[in-house]
Amino acid sequence: MKSNTIPISFTINGEKKELEIHAGISALELIRDVLELKGTKEGCGIGECGACTVVIDGEAVLACMTLAVECEGAEVLTVEGLEDPATGALDPLQEAFIEHHGTQCGFCTPGVLMSAKALLARNPHPSEAEIRQEIQGNLCRCTGYAPIVEAIRAASGGAASD
């Protein structure tokens, strides 16, 4: 079924990768099974929950709905890449999620963080409505979302207009 392999070259969390992969696998399988980066979660596998969200070329995408080969030449960022590689310091988003109880069971957390990361990269001071807009595809069953929104707001230092 997955006998056809294909070469792929991309960057993940700042690290250049050149691999021979099965042509039919998803980016999620590439990340979790081939690269064994287990921080990215699979909550449904069919694009409904957002737990597998990663950032590809600056855009938050569902890894389960993306073919691995679409990562060719791309810059991929997963939750493992949020920490500063030089200092090990956490990203402000990660700090804020800890401080503001933005994570409970933690299963949706990597996906939410990656959606928020993509948002803050293009809009460093989003309004609350913009934050809610960005994470609407990320389902969370624990928090009621308010602490997540509060954490993202805290990490962004508040909206420019606030």
């Binding site: 287990k38 933690g106 990320n138 602490p147």
Partner: protein, 800 residues
């Protein structure tokens, strides 16, 4: 309430860093040798006439195939005395387990399923709990569909259901000036934790190791040992990081499948991970059909409440206490009514199993009683606040009044301890701005074209989380440097239990939180907690036992230190890594001196001359103090001092906007009012109130378990067709927390620092949306979820 260093201060969860960095390893993040797929029944009710697995077994990569013919002749010993085989020739719901394959990967296992030939004999099926009770209904079990209460030993027949009664209900209805009777149909709700169900097992030399997404690891180990007839000492259950539970990750039959397959492939790690669609069909809150009848005098004083309930618990309803019906007094004792009767039956149908879900039976009781109270108030011309203020019990009240007359739940008679319901109600209505928004029955608070706004209230007596410490033990080690390690079987599933337990210990010992660690999520800790992450019990009950373990450790330290001052151990203080004689602070010395000078090389600790006595040397040889405690065998109920019941009032208020053209209900604001007694970790308590309220909104408006009888298929297998709340769906949720403790009580006597359960307290609240819609439209909806279709039909019905 802030004269404490640790307790009462919002504290980040211990595992938050692991979770935000992606380092937390959930079960599906662990490598397996073999993957499992399950063949599910295509019929809701059938017998397996024959099953041929030969082709599947000869497929390259297949290592083991399991069918009902290869089951051990044993049942899973839930507290249920129905047949609970892992696989059976009698299939009872769509998706019931026909066969399972372990193979080198999931694709191979899936391919093997296609090669299994099964001949089914379809049987007539039943899906409605009331229909299932009829004598001529298809039988999910040969002996009938009503369900045995846990306490009945096997073979003693089926029970008459659950009955709680006090006073004289018939007399109470005679005394009433107004009686309202109404029926309700409360739909199922799926737990829908983001982490799908997953279990991995390995047998190695008669030792079974399991990595499992569970909220009841102790129970699972006990049941596995019983099922496989091996000592519990040969079973290890790992459950470190769990991606949400809400009742859905209590023990379930599917978890035994990888354990059985692993026994056929010794030494291999065999993993079963359910797909989202399969995970959505493992358990659900049961559907409940209820009839409520409430009587009152003209002044609003209630004279009698009667509730009859039938719960559809599906084919294998396996709630541990034996019943999804009134397994606690939650909801039953909400009102100080002199006469009441609560009657319930759990009924098997050909739906997939019902399981306990956050606040278990309370949503049904609350929906039926609160709705009927509102209808009664409307008839009497009383507003929703007044009728509740009038009939709410208070601190010290005997509940039920006069004690139980019928009591199949075996709840104790007693008095409420602290019960500030009226104060809570007062604060909640303040926050929703009740006085300016409530314009009377049939009077929406605002009208804008087709849009009607309304507000509503709901109140309920929830349980306090303090009970069943019989199934709990805990241990705390105080190291020679004064730091502490907690051993508890409480299960962290995201609610912050491990953090809160460490906070209790840090506070009690007067040491920094960073000096306390916890060994949990691993049955090798030796800790036991049968109830685990259920019933809002861990902080209060495990916390209570844990603080007693801390006291046990302190006692040992006091006894060791007392002879220095020729004092009684009770005169010795232990706090902040120091020991001293009470009222003599100058005698204080660091705790590590009790163990020997830890800064010195180990050998120096044995130098003669620095010890006072042989006993001292022996003490210094001890690496640390081990404090232990276990729950009292008889302590299964929620009494303190054999007299006071630990419960808590919860009040919710909501404002909604209903579009009478589309039927869409938009929640605008929700206020939750709970009584956590004392918040150990306030941000954590808030997280529980918000999360529970969000699930209540989902239950009220969007979450619907649908089954297509013609296609024999559940239509709620994903997040598109089973809509859990999204960030856009939610209104502002304001949280009110009332704190009050019994100042005369030590932190380890009864509730730990006065803390009451937090996990489930707002999850029952779907009815508050019905209350607000009632105000907006003048129509009382009697079912959930309250979809646009339900709203429009109710409006049509009224017009007709």
């Amino acid at each position: 309430m802030t004269d404490s260093a640790v307790v009462g201060r919002s504290t980040p969860f211990r595992d938050a860093r692991a979770k935000v960095t992606g380092r937390a390893r959930y079960v599906d993040d662990l490598k397996a040798d073999l993957s499992v797929r399950i063949l599910g029944s295509p019929h809701p009710h059938a017998r397996v006439r024959s099953i041929d697995t030969r082709r599947a077994e000869s497929l390259d990569g297949v290592r083991a195939v399991l069918t009902h013919e290869r089951m051990p002749d044993r049942q899973i010993f839930f507290a249920v005395h129905r047949q609970s085989r892992v696989m059976d020739s009698h299939l009872r719901h769509v998706g019931d387990y026909v066969a399972a394959v372990a193979a080198v990967d999931e694709a191979t296992a899936e391919a093997a399923l296609d090669l299994i030939r099964v001949e089914y004999e379809p049987l007539p099926a039943v899906f409605d709990p009331e229909e299932a009770l009829r004598p001529d209904a298809p039988r999910v079990y040969p002996e009938g569909n009503d369900y045995a209460v846990a306490e009945l030993p096997p073979g003693e027949g089926t029970p008459d259901g659950i009955l709680q009664e006090w006073g004289d209900p018939a007399l109470g209805f005679e005394q009433a000036d107004v009686v309202v009777e109404e029926s309700y149909d409360i739909g199922s709700q799926v737990h829908a934790a983001l982490e799908p169900h997953v279990c991995m097992a390995r047998w190695e030399e008669d030792e079974l190791t399991v990595w499992v997404a569970t909220q009841t690891p102790t129970e699972f180990r006990v049941l596995l040992a019983d099922y496989f007839a091996v000592p519990q000492s040969r079973i290890v259950v790992h459950s470190e990081h769990i991606g949400g539970g809400f009742g859905g990750k209590t023990t379930s039959r599917h978890q035994f499948i990888p354990c059985l397959l692993a026994r056929m492939a010794p030494g291999r790690k065999v993993k079963l991970r359910l797909t989202r669609e399969e995970s959505q069909c493992v358990g659900r809150r049961p559907r409940g059909k209820l009839v409520a009848r409430i009587g009152a005098r003209r002044d609003g004083a209630l004279t009698a409440i009667q509730l009859k309930a039938v719960f559809d618990i599906g084919a294998y309803g396996d709630f541990h206490a034996g019943s999804n019906a009134f397994h606690s007094e939650g909801g039953l004792l909400s009102y100080k009514v002199p006469n009441a009767r609560f009657e319930a039956a759990d009924v098997h149908t050909n739906h997939f199993r019902a399981a306990c879900m956050r606040s278990v039976h309370v949503p049904y009781v609350a929906f039926a009683v609160e709705s009927t109270i509102d209808l009664l108030a409307e008839r009497l011309g009383l507003d929703p606040v007044a009728i509740r203020m009038k009939n709410m019990p208070g601190s010290g009240d005997e509940m039920p009044p006069g004690g139980y007359r019928e009591n199949t739940g075996r709840y104790p008679d007693g008095r409420l301890d602290i019960y500030p319901g009226r104060e809570l109600l007062g604060q909640v209505i303040e926050r929703i701005d009740w006085r300016s928004k409530w314009k009377g029955w049939g009077q929406p608070s605002a009208v804008d074209g087709p849009r009607r706004r309304g507000i509503g209230l709901a109140y309920c007596m929830e349980y306090g989380g303090f009970w069943m410490d019989a199934g709990t033990n805990a241990r705390v080690d105080i190291n020679s440097d004064g730091s502490a390690v907690v051993y508890a079987a409480a299960q962290e599933i995201g609610q912050g239990t491990n953090t809160a337990l460490c906070m209790l210990v840090a506070e009690s010992l007067g040491i920094p939180l960073s000096d306390v660690s916890i060994f949990a999520g691993d049955s090798r800790s030796g800790a036991f907690d049968y109830v685990a992450a259920q019933a809002s019990h861990q902080l209060t009950t495990v916390g209570h036992v844990l603080l007693r373990a801390v006291e046990d450790a302190k006692r040992q330290i006091r006894e060791q230190a007392a002879p220095r001052w020729e004092a009684h151990p009770d005169q010795v203080e232990v706090r902040g890594k120091k020991v001293w004689l009470r009222d003599h602070p100058e005698t204080a010395f660091p705790i590590h001196l009790l163990f020997g000078p830890i800064d010195a090389p180990l050998a120096e600790q044995f130098i003669p001359g620095i010890t006072e006595a042989t006993e001292g040397i022996l003490w210094r040889l001890r690496p640390h103090v081990v404090g232990t405690a276990a729950g009292a065998k008889e302590s299964i109920n929620h009494l303190i001092d054999g007299e006071f019941k630990v419960n808590q009032p919860v009040v919710l208020a909501a404002e909604v906007e209903v579009d009478i053209e589309t039927g869409i209900v938009k929640p605008l604001k929700l206020v939750t009012g709970t009584f956590p007694g004392r918040m150990i970790n306030p941000a954590g308590v808030r997280g529980q109130a918000l999360g529970g309220a969000t699930q209540a909104l989902g239950m009220a408006l969007w979450e619907e378990v649908r089954y297509d009888e013609e296609a024999a298929c559940y239509l709620s297998g994903g997040f598109t067709n089973y809509r859990i709340p999204r960030v856009f769906d939610l209104p502002e949720i304001d949280t009110v927390f009332l704190e009050q403790v019994d100042a005369g009580r030590q932190p380890h006597e009864g509730l730990p620092y006065g803390a009451r359960g937090a996990g489930e307290m707002t999850a029952w609240g779907a009815v508050v949306i019905a209350s607000a819609i009632h105000n907006a439209l003048g129509v009382r909806l009697r079912s959930s979820p309250m979809t646009p279709e339900v709203v429009l039909n109710a409006l049509k019905e009224r017009a007709a």
